[in-house]
Subunit: 214 residues, 2 copies
Amino acid sequence: MSNPNHRTVAALVFPEFELLDLYGPLEIYAMLPERFEIHIVTEHAGTVAGRGGPRIVVDDTFSDGRPYDLLLVPGGPGTRREVDNPVLSGWLREAAARAELVTSVCTGAALLARAGLLDGRKATTNKMAWDWATAQGPEVDWQARARWVEDGDIFTAAGVSAGIDMTLAVIARLTDQKTAEDVARMAEYDWHRDPGWDPFAEMAGLAPQAPSRT
Amino acid sequence: MSNPNHRTVAALVFPEFELLDLYGPLEIYAMLPERFEIHIVTEHAGTVAGRGGPRIVVDDTFSDGRPYDLLLVPGGPGTRREVDNPVLSGWLREAAARAELVTSVCTGAALLARAGLLDGRKATTNKMAWDWATAQGPEVDWQARARWVEDGDIFTAAGVSAGIDMTLAVIARLTDQKTAEDVARMAEYDWHRDPGWDPFAEMAGLAPQAPSRT
């Protein structure tokens, strides 16, 4: 059982993770330092380069076997390789079983799907990588029009910046709406509070606005 | 003169920089890897911890004396200390003199102001730290209602997430509008294209919507 006043966040990284997928949510948690403690977690100790080159220092490795209250799984070009990494999939399953909430951003949902964590669940992912990402989870109830999806203890966000909106919703669930509103204002972020807000679904040719007449 | 097809971006870091101030803009540059090359720059080699703890690896130090085409100066709690760092101010002046564009996010503008780079210029900063930040530059023409301000070769953004909007405007200026729109879509980011959009000025009690009757 999590301590409701102090939770640990495991932020998964791997080569070529998408920068904003990770740091958008981490900005939100970092604004509440008394409530959330961030750990950067990956397979091997050392540093990991995100998309575009910036390198992050690893805090914990999978083999440390630590439990965490929240998991944050980013997407990015590196997911195309990591979906086939059984060590990463195995860690996701073990860590998810011990976590209060599991969250993903963008194609991070493909990693959750391949680990079997989304089977039978509603979930979403990046609209610009829809076909590839959804093919990683044939048993997932994929939602094409969604900024993010909350299904029980799993939150999945759409592409990149959607992780910020989702994380504010996580904050609202774990604390209260006012705290989430305060954080959004401190970040001067135009929070999309409606998880159904998703103009990018249309842009990608998914989920047309008007119902079809078939 | 910059190579218009390949520019270097110096992303300044210091202890307790604000994560999203840095990584929001870097996400945008990282989406155009053939055009922008990111360097993480600070005073001393090694690693630097941002707000909330995540550590970044330094690529270049001030003493390397490298020129860069673009400068990115984030804000964050650490700016309260760094405004009094003459080594950082000196590097900012030298690097700015050789750069094509200088950009700041949030209280990063206080660092530019204390380096004298904003004197006589229009600029903006975080609305939630307005009094402190603007006091760092009495000769600056501070704009209270602004998502970002473009004054010649200097772009300054409001708080935290405003850096993403500003950087998309930088992309539009350096390349073309379509490229900026494409990047915003890839990031599934609701780009505020109007630099005058700023609900946070009102929330902070600055720049009331209706003109006063004095």
